[in-house]
């Protein structure tokens, strides 16, 4: 089962995107764990992730997070997808990336 981890400034707004992503994953029959945490907890929750997604508020930490987890897929969430809380679109992208 794939472990999808989202990091945000405090994890609040991203948690709502997570709910939408979980619904989308269920609809697609894609088994996975999806959770959001504050970026300050990156060292705690990053290691078990199959993919790490950063919210727009912390996109400036992309290079730093990639350096912290060099063997993992680390990406920023598209601003529009995040703003529209488009869990479906983000989930589709994640499935595609993890499938490679």
């Amino acid at each position: 089962m794939k472990n999808i981890v989202l990091f945000c400034a405090a994890g609040m707004s991203t948690s709502l995107l997570v709910s939408k992503m979980r619904a989308a994953a269920q609809a697609k029959g894609f088994e996975c764990e999806i959770n959001a945490h504050g970026l300050s907890e990156a060292r705690q929750y990053g290691p078990d992730a199959d993919i790490i997604l950063l919210g727009p508020q912390v996109s400036y930490k992309l290079k730093e997070t990639q350096a912290l987890f060099p063997d993992k897929i680390v990406e920023t969430i598209d601003m529009m997808d995040y703003g529209m809380m488009n869990g479906e679109k983000v989930m589709t992208h994640v499935i595609e990336v993890l499938g490679k």
């Binding site: 400034a9 609040m12 707004s13 709502l16 919210g55 727009p56 508020q57 912390v58 996109s59 400036y60 601003m79 529009m80 995040y82 703003g83 529209m84 809380m85």
Partner: protein, 98 residues
């Protein structure tokens, strides 16, 4: 959901402003200013959405005030502050590099 759109827009802006400061720190001033412009573009989207709420308020239509909207406003003011300071940081780094 207006609050999320604001959060995404101004959150992106804030990140761009911080990246701009980092670029200036590396002496890449043109790139830094370009990054500021990207930040401003993102910020304006959030600011415009927020402005619409203020207009509605002026016309007697109460905006939805909940913890998410409070978070959006907080992020907006933070982004604005970072924008102002980022410009000043670039100027400062330019002085250091000369």
């Amino acid at each position: 959901m207006v609050a999320f759109q604001i959060i995404a827009a101004v959150g992106t802006a804030r990140s761009k402003y911080i990246e701009a400061i980092d670029l200036a720190g590396e002496g890449k001033f043109e790139e830094a200013r370009g990054m500021i412009n990207e930040g401003v573009e993102a910020f304006n989207g959030g600011h415009a959405a927020h402005g619409e709420l203020l207009t509605k308020f002026a016309n007697g239509e109460l905006p939805p005030m909940d913890i998410l909207m409070t978070h959006a406003e907080d992020q907006l003011m933070s982004a604005e502050a970072f924008g102002i300071l980022a410009e000043k940081f670039i100027t400062l780094y330019e002085k250091i590099y000369k």
